[in-house]
């Protein structure tokens, strides 16, 4: 430990001395986070689980950027984390959070090596958001951001990977404006030398920008195991290839219309698997095409689209869920006298107690049908087809952002029956700034969001589905004194009906169905106080109450209250 600290100090001293020649830059963040959790459950149901769980940590991420020459940058981020209660080094960890070498070679080719953030399209490589937020209140978002930051779930829906990324652009004077090329190769998994082969993930995009009106790109992502990294010859391969195009044209002085679409296919192979359940080869295709209408001066964007994602379309880079609902949360993992596993809730995701994905998965992870049954694997959810409409209005007085999204989707192939599931999704939200109307300098903002989802399937009594889930996200943030915010938030999920949960094997084949009686209410209320030292630094305290109440008396109702304190600094 002393050795590591010496290295950090040495780096800091060196950085300061070299910094005067503008060959380095230091930035980073630090935080202190403390939790006090209380479990509320009927004593008769649970007399063995301890009711309190307290923990906390302080940490510092120190990012050092070194510029050996003007077109090259070396970024190293070191994390020192100290668990509260672990004195004298016990519970302290020191790790490298990021090490990236990047620059521009020959003034033409951009390159990155090491820890890189990658994203292509929603059907090829895209880290889609987790469930449970529709225009989330600040009191929740503040804490969710901590989880996102720790897991590298950046704002651009990128996946953090390790490998190399290169790109360059070519400008032309005739016919086309620009060609952009991007290619990457990453290491997803190292071999154990026995049964798990080395896995790589590579791909890229070739974008042709004809003009401001039209651009087209060809995208490709490929997972492949390296042969001869294990004695066995098993090999998993998955490729997704797509073409995206966008065409836009001024229809009126303030209005622009256009068409945008992406189409492609996936191919998956399980080579030399001895397991007879492994399909040797499977593939499917998709498309998503829509009409756009937007008025920049009025802040209006409208998209009407239709999409069809094949039942066997597999795109791990775009379908990996952030939350693994098969796992139990880190806090109060087992409850009741029978020590049953406690299912994941919204509260656990916000608190960082949920099991989260750090890399893409070739297996479709388990999902909770009450949270999202229509698109559990994001835009690229397989076996979905239908129409959607998105409307956004921004930059109006008071309502700085309003959005409405609606979709009607169906399965293209029935699961367990020829009858197909139908999904209706409605989502709406608004950021309401009361101070715009009242002429106040300080913000008084209300976040409103609602998501309604209906799943239905007709047929015989044993196969019918009716599942309604409504989620309300609401919050208020009031800067009652300059830089001092009071924050309130509520998140409510009402789910009622039944569901058939797909039970898939490791090859994504449905082997069985679990009948789920989904009738419960999940409530999450929070209040908090925040003082902002400046735009980047703040201290806040939060009190959060969560409970889940089932309609079925056989299922366990419980609640968790949580007090948390967060000091967040960036420099």
């Amino acid at each position: 430990m002393a050795k590591y600290l010496s290295i950090v100090i040495l780096v800091l001293i060196s950085a300061v001395s070299v910094g005067q020649q503008r060959k380095f830059q230091i930035n980073g963040s630090a935080r202190g986070y403390y939790f006090d959790n209380d479990l509320d459950i009927d004593d008769q149901l649970d007399s063995i689980t301890t009711r309190k769980a307290n923990y906390g940590h302080t940490l510092m991420d120190l990012a050092v950027s070194v510029f050996p020459e003007k077109n090259t940058e070396i970024i190293g981020t070191f994390r020192i984390r100290n668990e509260l209660g672990g004195f004298w080094g016990a519970g302290t960890s020191f790790l490298v959070r990021q090490l990236t070498l990047r620059g521009v070679a020959g003034g033409v080719v951009r390159y990155e090596l090491g820890d890189i953030d990658l994203k292509l399209t929603p059907y090829t490589l895209h880290n889609f958001e987790e469930e449970g937020m529709v225009n989330e209140a600040d009191v929740f978002a503040l804490r969710r951001d901590i989880v996102h930051y720790d897991m590298f779930y950046n704002a651009g829906n990128t996946w953090r990977m390790q490998g190399a990324n290169v790109g360059f652009g070519l400008n032309f004077s005739r016919l086309i404006d620009q060609i952009n090329v991007k290619a990457f190769i990453t290491r997803q998994r190292m071999t154990d030398g026995l049964a798990v082969p080395e896995r790589l993930y590579g791909g890229g995009t070739l974008q042709l920008v004809q003009s401001e009106q039209f651009n087209l790109s060809v995208n490709s992502v490929n997972i492949f195991d390296l042969k001869e990294t294990i004695p066995d010859s098993i090999q998993f391969k998955n490729s997704v290839h797509s073409m995206h195009l966008a065409y836009a044209k001024h229809l009126a002085p303030e209005w622009k219309g256009g068409v945008e679409g992406e189409a492609g296919f996936s191919e998956t192979r399980y080579i030399n698997y001895s397991d007879t359940r492994a399909p040797e080869q499977m593939g499917d295709w998709f498309y998503d095409v829509g009409l756009n209408l937007q008025s920049q001066p009025n802040g209006i964007r409208i998209k009407l689209g239709y999409k069809d994602i094949g039942a066997d379309f597999l795109s791990p880079g775009a379908q990996t869920k952030r939350i693994n609902y098969e796992k139990y949360p880190g806090v109060f993992q087992q409850i009741t006298n029978d020590a049953i596993g406690r299912p994941m809730s919204y509260s656990d995701v916000i608190s960082g107690a949920a099991e989260t994905s750090v890399r893409i998965s070739e297996e479709l992870l388990v999902y909770n049908p009450a949270y999202d049954n229509a698109t559990p694997y994001g835009a690229a959810t397989p076996n979905r087809r239908g129409t959607y409409l998105n409307v956004v209005r921004e930059d109006t007085v008071g309502f700085r952002e309003i959005f409405v999204e609606a979709a009607y989707l169906t399965q293209s192939r029935g699961t367990g029956t020829l009858q197909k599931k139908k999904f209706i999704v409605f989502k709406a939200g608004a950021d309401v700034y009361f101070n715009d109307w009242m002429g106040w300098k300080n913000d008084l903002k209300m976040d409103l969001g609602v998501r309604f989802e209906n799943t239905s399937r007709s047929g015989e009594a044993y196969e019918t589905i009716t599942l309604n889930s409504t989620m309300v996200d609401a919050g208020l943030t009031w800067e009652f004194v300059s830089n001092f915010d009071v924050m309130l938030g509520a998140k409510m999920l009402m789910a009622d009906g039944n569901a058939f949960v797909d039970l898939r094997n490791r090859y994504n084949t449905i082997e069985n169905f679990a009948i789920a009686d989904v009738s419960f209410t999940e409530n999450l209320y929070a209040a908090g106080l925040r003082y902002r030292f400046n735009e980047r630094n703040a201290v806040s305290a939060h009190y959060q109450m969560f409970n889940i109440v089932h309609a079925d008396a056989q299922l366990v109702d419980y609640g968790i209250t949580q007090f948390s304190f967060l000091l967040s600094l960036k420099f």
Partner: protein, 333 residues
């Protein structure tokens, strides 16, 4: 540019018509998992009386409302022979319910009534269907039949019994693995493991078996009645081959392959040995023989069935029956 955009749109529209597949589903059929059970078409048995060599198989026909697990249990009224047939189907037919007159293990069915029961274990509300079939002719075994002791001792057989042992063919006891007769060893031999043996030889020449040992199985029924168990008694086989074809087996110059089978309990066991496996011992090492070392069934001239038992345990008794060679798979009673 506009034309190009239109072409792209047309291409997208061309692929936009996914062909509806109204027959394929993902996963198991929900009707099978959760649908109600009923008998759509009456379930009937094909024969009330059956002569298997003449009439062929006995089977059920009928239709259920769903694919579900079904189980047919057949029990011989006299022999106690058992046969179980299971499946997971909606349609019951000769394709999946055929009974060829065989048993799951020894003893086999004789000329007797067979009680048949059809149940649906996953369907609590389903009826149990019961029938009785009279067996007027038993099935004919496929294979190279050596003996079932029905015709008595062969002219070239050799019998060995310790002085305190009664070893002989017994008929009519109703305990035979197949048919009416069996060979029995019974007695106490406190001084030796050897109880008795019967060496079976053809009336002349060889048994007329095929040349290939790689797909030929030797089968026999064995039942230890007293002094049984995997450390107490066993059958030792000698398979003697006339390597030089002179009509006489010479243990000093020709192959004698041996095989031990230890008793597992006091029920009929079906011993099945792949003849080509005789060239190696239980650990897979080549065995030493006096001849060319190759299992050659076409040269087999005698089979010695030797019963041995732990002398410390007192009285020992065992029965053997129905020696038969089969090709490609072990014998099914």
């Amino acid at each position: 540019m506009r034309t190009f955009g239109i072409y792209i749109m047309l291409a997208l529209l061309a692929v936009s018509c996914r062909k509806e597949d109204e027959t394929a589903i993902d996963g198991p059929d929900l009707n099978d998992l959760f649908g109600p059970f009923s008998i759509v078409e009456e379930i009937k048995i094909s024969h009330q009386t059956v002569n298997f060599p003449v009439d062929g198989n006995v089977f059920y026909s009928g239709e259920l409302s769903k694919n579900t697990t079904w189980e047919i249990s057949i029990t011989g009224a006299s022999t106690g022979a058992q046969r179980t047939i299971t499946g997971f189907d909606r349609i019951l037919s000769i394709e999946n319910t055929a009974w060829n007159g065989g048993a799951t293990n020894f003893p086999g069915f004789g000329l007797e009534d067979a009680y048949i029961e059809l149940v649906f274990p996953d369907e609590p509300e389903a009826p149990i269907i019961r029938d009785t079939v009279t067996i007027a002719g038993t099935k004919i075994d496929d294979g190279y039949f050596i003996t079932g002791f029905e015709e008595g001792l062969g002219s070239n057989w050799t019998v060995f019994n310790q002085t305190t042992v009664a070893g002989s063919i017994q008929c009519g006891s109703g305990e035979a693995a197949k048919g009416n007769c069996l060979y029995s060893f019974a007695g106490a031999v406190p001084w030796d493991w050897a109880i008795g043996s019967v060496m079976i030889r053809p009336d002349e020449g060889t048994f007329g078996l095929p040349a290939s040992a790689s797909n030929l199985f030797f089968n026999m029924g064995f039942k230890a009645i007293e002094n049984y168990g995997p450390t107490n008694s066993f059958i030792l086989f000698w398979f003697d081959e006339d390597d030089n074809g002179d009509g006489v087996f010479d243990e000093n110059t020709e192959d004698r392959f041996t095989y031990e089978y230890w008793s597992t309990g006091n029920q009929w066991d079906l011993i099945s040995i792949l003849y080509s496996s005789l060239k190696t011992d239980a650990e897979g090492n080549p065995v030493e023989t006096a001849g060319n070392g190759l299992p050659e069934p076409a040269k087999l001239v005698s089979i010695n069935v030797f019963f041995l038992a732990n002398p410390d345990n007192g009285f020992s008794e065992a029965q053997v029956d129905h020696l038969i060679f089969t090709t490609n798979s072990p014998y099914t009673p």
